[in-house]
Structures are given as C-alpha cells and as structure tokens.
C-alpha cells in the first residue's frame, strides 16, 4: 500500500518546482531579450550617425583637396580670374551639397480662391437683382407713362377746344405709383425664406427703405449683414434706416465700426453727411 498523502505532498512540491522553473526561464528570457534589444538598438542608432559622419567627411575631404589644388594653382599663377573660379567652385560645391542634403520638395494645394469665388458670386447676385429690379422699374415706368399719355392727349384736345375761356390748367405732375411694389417684395421674401440668399434680403431692405418702411428696411439690412457682413450697401441702408428711426448715435457707432475694417468710401461720406446734418 502506498502512502498517498505523503505522495501527494511530494507531487505538490514537484509541481511548485516545475512552475518556479518555468517562471525563472520566462523571466530570464525576457531580460535577455530586453538586453539584446538595448544593445542592438544602441548599435543601430550609432551606425547611421557614424555612416552620416563618414559620408559628410568624404566630400569635405574632397572639398579640401579641391581647395588645396586650386590654391596651389593660385600660388603658381596669381590671377584674379582663377581666384574667382575657385570661389565659384566652392560655392557651387556647397550649394550642391546643400541640395543633396535637402529632402524632396512637397507641394501642397491652396484653396483660398474658393472664398473669393463665394464673395464674387454674392456680389454678382446682388448686381443681377439690382439690374432685374431696375429693369422692372423701367418697365413699370414705361407702362405708367404709356397709360398716362392718352389722357394727356385727351386733355390737350379739350384745352384746344376751349382756348379763350380755359385757363391753362396746370399739368398734373406725373405721379408714378408703384402699385406692384408690395407684391414684389412679398414674392422676394418667399424666395429668401427658401434659400437665404443675402442678395435677396438686401433687395428687400432696399425696397422697404425706398417705400419708407424704415423699420423693416433696418431688419432686413440687419439680416443681410448677419449672412454676409461684407456687403457695403447693406451697411449703408442699415445706417440710413437707423437715422430715419431717430437712432443717430447708434447709426454713427455702427458706421464707424464698419469703416474701421472696410474703409468704404460710401460709408465715410455717409458718416460725414450724418454728422454735418446733411442727411437726417
């Protein structure tokens, strides 16, 4: 019969030893690898610097040789031209070496032009809208004038018929009423609400200013500035509306700020006009 308890104890001892042995082997191998890594790593680091030094040494030696040879030539034949040649050679050698040491040129793209395009497009849309609105104005004027003309001719005829008794009636001044303006503005507002184009809000501000809705003009000028604060006309309408709403000091303040960073001629003249009282 075998003493199993004692045998088990012996087994535990054996197992512990084997684990310990494995652990020792593991630790020593890691230490060995680390040491190897350190040594090899330092060697590798040293080598490229050494190589570099070697490589730089060689051309320098060549340089020195060249210089010595050329100097000896100079000594033999003291000529200014040779001296210049030497200088040129040295400088060219240095330049060449510099070029060799430089890394390849990396060219990167530049996208600043896109912001320029954006502002160009914004300006053009303003101009276009102005032109369109002017066209419309012209058209409406033409229509109005045409409508008035037959009346005039009738009036004239009546006057002719009554030459003695009639007193020259004063011609009524041609009063062009833009009956379509409000509807125009509303249509543009609808369009603006869809696409938030600053050109449209500027147009709206201008229209409101012209029909003396100064508060609305001020609002839309403010909106335009909020979208794009580089539009000069928007600032002008903004300041003018404020003056008309009796907010002169605020107008001057805002205008001064705008002038500070834009140096706009129109803004400067407007400021002058407001200060002098020319514009009220």
């Amino acid at each position: 019969m075998i003493n199993t308890q004692e045998l088990e104890k012996r087994w535990f001892k054996y197992k512990f030893k084997s684990y310990l042995l494995h652990l020792i082997i593991f630790v020593t191998s890691i230490v060995f690898i680390l040491l190897l890594f350190i040594f090899v790593g330092t060697d590798l680091l040293k080598k490229p610097t050494e190589l570099k030094k070697e490589s730089t040494n060689i051309p320098k030696e060549k340089k020195i040789e060249k210089v010595i040879i050329q100097k000896t030539i100079i000594k033999k034949t003291p000529d200014v031209k040779i001296k210049k040649l030497v200088e040129v050679n040295l400088t060219s050698i240095i330049k060449n070496d510099e070029k060799q040491e430089k890394q390849p040129l990396i060219v990167e793209p530049s996208f600043n032009f896109i912001s320029q395009i954006e502002s160009d497009l914004a300006k053009k849309s303003i101009v276009q809208n102005r032109q369109i609105s002017e066209k419309k104005d012209i058209q409406t004027q033409i229509i109005e004038v045409e409508k008035k003309e037959p009346k005039k001719t009738i009036q004239k005829e009546i006057q002719r018929k009554q030459p003695i008794q009639t007193v020259e009636k004063k011609r009524k001044p041609i009063h062009i009423v833009r009956q379509n303006t409000q509807e125009d503005i509303k249509a543009v507002i609808k369009r603006f609400e869809k696409n938030h184009n600053p050109a449209l809000s500027l147009f709206i501000a201008r229209q409101y200013y012209e029909i003396k809705e100064y508060k609305k003009a001020y609002n839309y000028a403010l909106i335009t500035n909020g979208i794009n604060n580089d539009i000069e006309e928007s600032w002008i309408i903004f300041a003018k509306s404020l003056v008309k709403l009796n907010e002169r000091t605020i107008a001057i303040k805002m205008l001064k700020k705008y002038i500070q960073y834009s140096n706009s001629y129109r803004a400067i003249t407007l400021l002058g006009d407001i200060n002098s009282g020319k514009f009220r």
Binding site: M1, I2, L7, E8, W11, Y14, K17
Partner: protein, 270 residues
C-alpha cells in the same frame, strides 16, 4: 469502479515474461513473422538486440512457444556461464546424453557431428551478453557445423556491438533490432493488455494525452511502462482503500496520478 478492478489492472503490468501475455503490435508482429520464417532457412545464427525492456526476452519466449511444437527448440533464459556446464546441459537436452564427467568443447563437437537428426535443432539463448567471449567463439564454431542453429539476444551496448560486428559478421543471417514503442504503439500496448485481462473500464481511461505523458516519462520502454502503470494502479487502489468514497474521473487518467507514480519510482525528481 472498485478496488478489485484496479487490482486486476495492476497485475496486468507485472514484470513477467510470459508468452501468453505477448501483445501483438503491427510492426513487431511483422518482425516476428520474418524471424519465424527465417528460422526455417539454412541460417546459422539470428541476433536479436535492443535496449533493455524492449521485449527481447518476450520475443524469444514467444518464438519458443510457437515453434517448439514442430521443431526441436531449446531455450536458455538465464545464461550458463560455465563452459563445461553449458555443453553438458546442451548435450543432455539435445541428445539425451548424460555426462557425469566433464564434457569439453571438442567432445561435444564430436557428438554433434555424429548425431543424425531430421531437423536442425534451434537453441535460443537469452542475455547472451553475459556469456564470456571464449564461449561465444565456441558457439560460433558450433553454428558453423550447420548442425545447430542459434538465436541469441543481446543488450545493445558498445561491447555487444563489437561482438555483433566482429565475431558474427559473416555468420549472422539476420540481426533484428527491437526498439522502444512509439506513442501510438504504447497506447495500443496498454489498452490491448488491459482488454486481454477484461479490464475494459481502465482501458478506456487512457487517452492520447495520458499516453503521451507516460511515453515522455518512460521513453516508450515496455519494462519501464509496465512498472509505471503497475504503480499507477497501486496508487488508485491505495486511495480507495483509505477512502471508500474517493471520487475520481472515470473517463480519464489525470496527469497528476501519472506524475505521482513517476515520483514514486524516481522517474521524476521532486
């Protein structure tokens, strides 16, 4: 499972050389078959060599068991180192001649030459490395007469290699090397041995992992494996006798048990 099962399993691995306990393994059985055939050929000597515990004695015993029924075969498991005694025993066994006096080599040779037998007798000598060199030379001479055949087993040591090469070079018809078992062979050996003794439950406990561990510890040596397995089952038996309700895995022999047996035998150092 109970202690009886372990007891019978343990007995399976007793280190005895019994022809009935011979386990057939494919590679070895082919060797055996070729040996059996070559006996019938007009050969002088067969050398069976290998490390201790590789089954040489078992081989010889099995051969004796198989061929003794139809061929005059004489087996000497323990060597007779004394020369005169050796020839006396041989003469007695082969020719039924009793000699009270000494019988030396020349006399035996005469007897041998004068004998008339239908079949050449075969003499199986185990542990032939223990025979003195002079006797080995005389055995060689006896085989030269072609009136007797020898099958000898040797431990493979340097000395025996010399004998194998120098003395018997021309005379050896066949030299067979027996080797340790491979992992696969060892597994079959263990399982077949247990199944032959109807220990099916314990036979199933040996999987590849446990056999690999046993192989690692014994190098596939049959004798060492027998000893280890004997000790293993002894440990199981001891556990059960000390604690009747001792629980163990019925499907697998854990490495712990095998290692404990190895520590007990000194195969592992604790």
């Amino acid at each position: 499972m109970d202690t009886e099962l372990f007891n019978s399993s343990k007995d399976v691995f007793l280190d005895t050389v019994n022809a009935k306990d011979y386990i057939e393994l494919d590679r070895i059985s082919s060797i055996y078959q070729s040996l059996k055939e070559s006996i019938t050929k007009p050969l002088k000597m067969v050398l069976l060599y290998g490390k201790p515990g590789t089954g040489k004695s078992m081989f010889l015993t099995k051969l004796y068991d198989d061929i003794s029924s139809y061929m005059p075969t004489y087996i000497y498991k323990t060597p007779i180192i004394d020369e005169i005694e050796f020839f006396k025993v041989l003469a007695q066994d082969m020719f039924n001649m009793k000699y009270d006096d000494q019988l030396n080599f020349t006399q035996f040779m005469k007897v041998l030459n004068s004998s008339k037998t239908e079949q050449t007798p075969i003499i199986l000598l185990d542990e032939a490395q223990l025979y003195p060199d002079i006797l080995m030379e005389k055995i060689r001479l006896l085989s030269d007469t072609r009136k007797v055949k020898f099958v000898i087993t040797l431990h493979k040591t340097e000395k025996e290699d010399l004998i194998a090469k120098e003395h018997f070079k021309t005379r050896i018809w066949e030299s067979i090397e027996l080797e340790n078992a491979s992992n696969f062979e060892l597994k079959i050996y263990i399982q077949k041995k247990l199944m032959k003794a109807n220990c099916f439950d314990t036979a199933n406990m040996f999987d590849e992992k446990s056999v690999n561990l046993i192989h690692k510890l014994t190098h596939g040596n049959y004798r060492e494996s027998n000893k280890l397995l004997y000790t293993l089952f002894d440990i199981y038996e001891s556990y059960l006798t000390q604690d009747k309700h001792y629980k163990f895995n019925q499907n697998k022999v854990p490495s712990k048990m095998i290692e404990m047996a190895a520590i007990y035998l000194g195969l592992l150092n604790d």
